[in-house]
Amino acid sequence: MDKVLLKKLGDPEAHKIDNYVKAGGYKALGMALKMPPDNIIQAVKDSGLRGRGGAGFSTGLKWSFIPKDPTIKKFLCCNADEGEPGTFKDRGIIDWDPHLLIEGMIIASYAIGAAKSYIYIRGEFALGAARLDAAIKEAYAKGYLGPNVMGTGFNHDMFVHRGFGAYICGEETALLESIEGFRAQPRKKPPFPALAGLYSKPTVINNVETLSCIPAIIERGAKWFSSIGPEKSPGPKIFCVSGHVKKPGLYELPMGTTLREIIFNHAGGMLTEKPLKAVIPGGVSAPMLTEKDLDTSMDFDSLAAKGTMLGSGAVVVMDSSACMVKTAYIINRFFSHESCGKCTPCRDGTPWLTNILMRLEHGEGKQGDVELLEGLCANIFGRTFCPLGDGAVMALRGALKNFRNEFEYHAKTGRCLG
C-alpha cells in the first residue's frame, strides 16, 4: 500500500505549501469544490471511513446529521488534543504535513457548510501549533482559505486554538467548553454537537487522522479507500508502536493488519531476548492483550470482539520485565490525575484505585486489596458522566483478568513475581 497519511514523515521541507502543491496537494480541494456538498458526504459514507479519534463512528454519517439550512451557522472542529498515552500519530501528520490536514478540513467544511473551523491542538505541541499557524497563513495567501476559496464563492476561515494541559479536552464536548472559555468539563448529550455544538451551533468534531484521509478519498474515490483492509473497517491506519520493540515509531498500514505483523514485521520485534508479556492495542484506556491474541486483526470490530478496542491505534508492547501492578498503577494514576471532577464515581473512585495500586506497587499491600479493587471497579463502571471513568476501569480490569496472580502475589508478599 502506498502511503497516504505519513508520506512526508521526516521530510524537512514538506510542510511548505509550494512543496505540497508540487506533490499534487490541493488538487482534491479543487475537485471537491466542483461537487455538490451532498455528493462529498455520500462519497465519505461510501468510503467506509470511521473516526480515528477512538470511537470509530462513520464519518460520512456524522457529517450528514448537520442541518442543511444555509441560514444556520456551522462549525468544524479538528480534535488535535492527542493525549491518550501511547499516541503520537496526529503529531506525525501536523509536524510534517500540515497542509494535508488543512486541505481535508477545508473539504469537510465545504461539505457541511461551515464558514469557520478551529484546530484544537494540545498545549504542549508548540512546534505543531507554529507549523499550523504558518501553513494556514500560506493557504490564505494562495487563496485556499479566506473569502472566495479558489474563485468558487465558498468562504472559509481557519484558526488554531491551543490547549493548556488537560487530557479531558480530547473528549469532544469538553473540547467545545474549552474553546468557549469555560473549564473543560463534558456536556450532557443530547443535544449532540451536530445540532448544538460550538456556541450552540451545529458542529462536526473530527480527529486529525480522520480529516487527513479526506483528500485521498476525493482524489482516488470511495471504492479505492473501501478496498483497503476489512470491509466494515477499511482504509489506511496509523499505528503508534512504543515500548519494548526494536523499532518503535509510526507505521501506516492497512487497517486489519495483525498485531503480530505490526510488532514483528514492522517494528523489528522484541527489544531484547525477553518474550512478549502483554500488549495494549489502542492507548492505555484499551484493555491489554497477551501472546495468544497476537493474530487479532487490528480493526474496530475485531478488537471489540476481544473485549478491547482499537482506540487511537497506540500499540504499547511490554516484555517479561514489565510488572503488571506497576503498569496498572501508572495507568490509573494518569486517569485520576486527569479526572475533570464533574462526577463523583470518577473524581473520588479513580484516586482511591490509585492509592490501592500505589500501596501494592510499593510493597505495602494488604490481603483483600485485589477484591477491594474489583469492588471499586464495579461501583465506578457504567456510573460515570463520560467515558474517562469507564476507560480507567476497563484498563484495570484487563490487567486483573490476565495477571491476577501478580496482583495477589504483591498483596501477600509485598514483592514482584519476577
Binding site: R91, F164, E338
Partner: protein
C-alpha cells in the same frame, strides 16, 4: 502588564465570535510575559479585557496543568514524561538522574533560578522514549550524557 503585547492580543481576539474564548491564549501570553507564572493581578487584568468575572478566569486557570499560579518558575522549565511507554524505557531513572544532577526534587526550582523540574503525563512522543520537554522543545531518546549536554547548553544561556 499586557500593554506590551497589544497587537498579539488583538490577533487573538479576532479568532473568536465571543471574547471569552480568548481566555486560554491570554493566560498563556500573561504567563509567558511574567517569567512563567500567573499572578492574581494578571488574571484580573485578563478578566477586565474579556469582560469576564475574575472568578471565571481563575477557575479556568486552575483547571489546566500548564498554568502555574503564583509560583515563579526557573528560567527553564523541564518536564519529564512518566507515563507508561516512557516508564517502560526508563523514565524513573531519568527523573532520578535529573534530580541528582540539578540537586532538587521534582516540583522544585534550582537555587540559581535556572531550572524548574516537573514530571508530565504522556507528551505524545512515546516512540522516542524516554523523553522530556524543556520550555517549548522536545528532547527524545534520552541518555545520561544527552541530559548532561542539554543542561549544560541551557545553563549557559543568560
Amino acid at each position: 502588564m499586557l500593554e506590551n503585547v497589544k497587537d498579539e492580543i488583538q490577533g487573538v481576539l479576532k479568532k473568536y465570535p465571543d471574547k471569552k474564548s480568548a481566555v486560554m491564549d491570554m493566560l498563556r501570553i500573561a504567563q509567558r510575559e511574567a517569567s512563567g507564572h500567573l499572578t492574581k493581578e494578571a488574571m484580573d487584568e485578563i478578566a477586565g479585557l474579556l469582560g469576564m468575572p475574575p472568578v471565571e478566569v481563575h477557575a479556568a486557570a486552575a483547571f489546566y496543568t500548564m498554568c502555574r499560579i503564583n509560583m515563579p518558575a526557573g528560567k527553564h522549565r523541564v518536564w519529564v514524561c512518566r507515563n507508561l511507554p516512557c516508564s517502560l524505557m526508563g523514565a524513573e531513572h531519568i527523573i532520578k538522574y535529573l534530580e541528582k544532577k540539578l540537586g532538587i526534587k521534582t516540583g522544585e526550582t534550582t537555587h540559581d533560578l535556572k531550572f524548574t523540574l516537573d514530571t508530565a503525563e504522556c507528551l505524545g512522543s512515546c516512540g522516542t522514549a524516554p523523553m522530556m520537554q524543556v520550555d517549548d522543545d522536545y528532547f527524545e531518546n534520552l541518555t545520561e550524557s544527552k541530559i548532561d549536554e542539554i543542561l549544560a547548553a541551557k545553563g549557559r544561556e543568560s
